[in-house]
């Protein structure tokens, strides 16, 4: 056989296999499976791990139980949103708040087992919390709910567990419903712990040890994860879906194509420019939910000139074409955080629209008052990984500031370097987005407007604000709390360490018929309640 014949022969083979139409997911669909496509995949099975990617939060939700879960409210037919003022039992059949909230008592489901068949006991629950408050990936979050010390976690009897708190804290219960409070199989993990790794962190990253509604039956990092229902799950109504295939498809166009063809049941991270077109497709149901705990903003380093002067920050805010930026960057798919009519906060909520609009004359006079009437040069930075959204913002900001003689250089920083630069505070003026786990304004403020850490993006340091936040932390009278926080919102309105632009929208495409979706803070899919209509 000639060399060329070999080549031609195999090419013909390839063509013939290509032509017959393969059976699509739409034809093979059954009522107890689900296929989900996402931009990136989970990288850990350890709910207390460091460097955990956000898709892992979905994994934790489905493979582990918490003592309690958030309640939820219906926002559209078959679509629900978590309600973090309400809680329902999960692994705990019931719970009691005792001694003015200083003692929380949980009654565990007696029949609950882990995936390996061993019973879930209060000792496992205690060990899981001991682990959570010891490892750096989880301990700071749990500390926001006064959960800090293993001595707080008490085994009363194998089916009763208590948490003791120095004082009643409204953030304790919400923290217990987060993935950081997942209940782990302590014996299984301990059997893999070593002297240098007493909490078995190296092992748990690559293995699961839980008793949640789903088991992982296939894990190909960065490619796909297969979840199979754990039929002995006792912590809620039996899930309708037997098997879920979660697949990583990095390109949005490919995810959308599979969704519209009916080959995928859920596609996450839809590109904003295509939403209108996808929503018009009768084969797809687009779910849009405003995200209340995330916001997009421009930050000023208030410790670096010329941004040390609040008037400079305000001048920039008055110069920006907010509406154009919202349209150009996310095609209007966001809740505006600009354009409030009054400089007085409307209420104590945060984030809420800031009182800034495009008013060039005002911008000019503020700049002149700050001694920068002739303008200045600065650098506006953003993360390359954030390019799709941040680049249009950067260009519009650059254009808008040019008439004020503010010469803006745009600097794209590599994704790897971005965290380093923000931690070291070496970017004076930048575009970023961030989230907090809870919506209470004082919680937001403590993360974003104080402290010597990365999340204080404006490096803001204001003693008046600090006093208000300290007072609000333990205030139990709603009227007094609101009064304190309205003052705090007034301070950041005026001082403007960061300039919020909008809150994003969670957008996912579903195959019609998929129902009972509950949206959670983390934007990942909880498979347990989902079902086909």
């Amino acid at each position: 056989m000639q060399r060329r014949d070999v080549l031609l022969g195999s090419a013909a083979g390839a063509a013939s296999a290509f032509l017959p139409r393969l059976q699509t997911r739409a034809e093979a669909a059954s009522l107890d499976t689900l296929r989900e496509l996402a931009e990136a995949g989970p990288n850990s099975r350890d709910p207390h791990g460091a460097g955990v990617a956000s898709p892992s939060l979905g994994t934790f939700t489905n493979i582990y139980d918490r003592l309690i879960n958030f309640g939820h409210t219906e926002i559209a037919p078959g679509i629900f949103k978590y309600d973090y003022t309400k809680f329902t039992g999960e692994l705990a059949e019931s719970f009691e708040v005792l001694d003015d909230g200083k003692r929380l008592r949980f009654h565990l489901r007696q029949s609950a087992t882990f995936h390996d068949g061993s019973p879930v006991t209060a000792a496992d629950v205690k060990w899981s919390f001991d682990r959570g408050v010891s490892l750096p990936g989880s301990k700071y979050q749990l500390a926001t709910g006064s959960l800090t010390d293993p001595a707080q976690f008490v085994v009363v009897d194998p089916a009763t567990f208590e948490i003791h708190l120095p004082r009643g804290d409204r953030y304790t219960l919400p923290n217990l419903a987060l993935t950081f409070a997942s209940i782990l199989n302590s014996k299984l993990i301990q059997s893999h712990a070593t002297a240098s790794d007493p909490w078995g962190a190296d092992w748990l990253r690559d293995n699961e040890a839980g008793g949640g509604a789903y088991r992982i039956t296939n894990w190909q990092a960065g490619q796909r994860v297969t979840y199979t229902r754990f039929d002995d799950w006792k912590s809620g109504p039996a899930p309708a879906l037997r098997q879920i295939s979660f697949e990583v498809v990095p390109t949005a166009e490919s995810r959308v194509a599979a969704l519209e063809k009916g080959d995928a049941d859920i596609a996450l991270q839809l590109p904003p420019q295509d939403i209108a077109h996808i929503a018009a497709d009768p084969h797809v149901h687009v779910v849009s939910i405003p995200v209340t705990n995330t916001f997009r903003f421009i930050a000023f380093d208030t410790q670096t000139a010329p941004f040390t002067d609040a008037r400079v920050r305000q001048a920039i805010a008055y110069a920006l074409p907010f509406e154009d930026i919202l349209q150009a960057a996310v095609y209007g798919h966001g809740t505006p955080l600009f354009g409030a009519k009054s400089a007085q906060p409307k209420n104590a909520a945060f984030p809420q629209p800031y009182p800034y609009n495009t008013e060039i004359a005002r911008a000019r006079s503020l700049l002149a008052a700050a001694g920068h009437g002739r303008g200045f040069s600065t650098t506006l930075s953003y993360n390359v990984a954030d390019n799709d959204t941040a680049e249009p913002i950067a260009i519009l900001v650059q254009q808008a500031l040019a008439p004020l003689n503010i010469n803006v250089q745009i600097e794209k920083i590599s994704a790897a370097d971005w965290a380093t630069r923000l931690t070291a505070k070496t970017v004076p003026f930048f575009i970023e987005s961030s989230s907090a786990w809870f919506n209470d304004p004082d919680y937001f403020f403590r993360i974003f407007f104080q402290g010597n850490w990365r999340w204080n993006f404006g490096s803001f340091n204001n003693p008046d604000l600090a006093k208000l936040l300290t007072a609000a932390r333990w205030e139990t009278d709603p009227a007094k709390y609101d009064a304190l926080m309205e003052k705090a919102v007034g301070i950041v309105f005026q001082q403007l360490p960061i300039l919020p632009l909008w809150q994003p929208t969670f957008e996912a495409g579903f195959k019609p018929g998929l129902t009972n979706f509950i949206y959670y803070i983390h934007g990942q899919v909880d498979y347990r309640p989902l079902r086909w209509a």
Binding site: L7, A17, A50, G222, D263, A416, A419
Partner: protein, 341 residues
């Protein structure tokens, strides 16, 4: 296999060692010249501060001096430990072992299609240099080379999958609902055949077509141009003129010319293959192909030192292997070429 061939291969393998050592040192140093701090990247959890970043640095061994870090890394490498990737959470060696065959499979598929289309076109163009056909081929090649892989890939998906339903879904190597065949070669098309699983074979082959075609369009221009050039040279040579003068049939003349153009073509295929392996990141991303290019890019974005270093080392090894193979094939195609180490 004769003794001289074995000694040739052994000598060549030995010359590869300094290359691999050089690649190891180079990537190690370059990764650390980058300003990114992996510990700051990892400390993304709520509230993690300076103390935790320092602790993470210590855990990753980044608090030690560079020579000590390199010594430890080299020692691990010698024991087959490429380190741990924090993007995937897996050992780098395992990731690369799973992903390298996927990339090789795609590069082979692309090269095959480029050869099947490009070589006949190149030969035909060489037979009529300067003709309209020759110019049309050149225009086609330029067009294929000028369109970015992303555009071609997305266009092919839109046309062949979305509109016409000719191609299967462009996500990965095989339908996730099928059980993948037992891994023997790592090439799913071959493994499914070996397992006699024709459903898996059809799925794997079907999913190869669009990404391979995208890769092929990119390689088509060099294949066509080089084939044409090699054939023009061969056809202009004295022995072809003599054969023609002797009245040998055209088919035979063409065959002699092809055999003489073989060595430069094999060299070219080696070069293109190596290039495709390193440059198919975009195709891997568009088709959700689990290859090493996409892996290295994700690693680079996350300051994942071990993953990027492992990738460069593996690619260097593959380049060396391809070069060796090219030399052996050239010797086979053209016995006049001496085997020099």
């Amino acid at each position: 296999m004769n003794a001289s061939l074995i000694s040739f291969v052994l000598r060549r393998v030995l010359t590869v060692l300094p290359v691999l050592v050089g690649a190891t040192v180079f990537t190690f140093v370059v990764m650390r010249l980058l300003p990114a701090d992996p510990a700051a990247f990892l400390a993304s959890g709520p509230g993690m501060g300076a103390a935790d970043i320092a602790a993470l640095r210590a855990k990753l061994g980044l608090d030690r001096s560079l020579p000590v870090q390199f010594g430890l890394y080299a020692w691990q490498l010698l024991h087959g430990d490429f380190g741990h990737s924090f993007v995937t959470g897996n050992p780098v060696a395992l990731d690369l072992l799973q992903r390298l065959p996927a990339s090789l499979e795609l590069a082979c598929g692309g090269l095959l299609i480029a050869a099947v289309i490009g070589m006949p076109l190149g030969i035909a163009a060489a037979l009529r240099p300067g003709s309209l056909f020759d110019t049309a081929c050149r225009a086609l090649a330029v067009l294929g080379g000028a369109l970015p892989g992303f555009v071609i890939g997305v266009f092919l998906i839109y046309l062949c999958y979305f509109k016409l339903s000719w191609a299967p879904e462009p996500t990965g190597q095989i339908d996730a609902a099928l059980s993948a065949p037992r891994i023997v070669t790592g090439f799913l098309v071959i493994d499914s055949l070996l397992a006699g699983n024709m459903t898996a074979f059809a799925s794997a082959l079907g999913r190869m077509v669009l990404p391979s075609l995208t890769m092929a369009l990119f390689a088509l221009a060099p294949v066509m141009r080089m084939t044409r050039a090699a054939m023009v040279t061969a056809l202009a040579s004295d022995y072809i003129r003599s054969s023609r003068a002797l009245g040998l049939p055209n088919r035979l003349v063409l065959r002699y010319a092809l055999e003489n153009a073989g060595a430069p073509l094999i060299t070219m295929f080696g070069l293109i293959f190596s290039y495709m392996l390193g440059a198919n990141v975009v195709v891997e991303k568009v088709f959700a192909w689990p290859g090493i290019g996409a892996y290295a890019l994700d690693g680079l974005q996350a300051a994942d030192y071990s993953a990027v270093q492992g990738f460069i080392l593996v690619v260097a090894a593959v380049f060396a292997a391809v070069n060796l193979l090219v030399d052996l094939l050239c010797g086979w195609a053209d016995p006049r070429i001496p085997r020099a180490a």
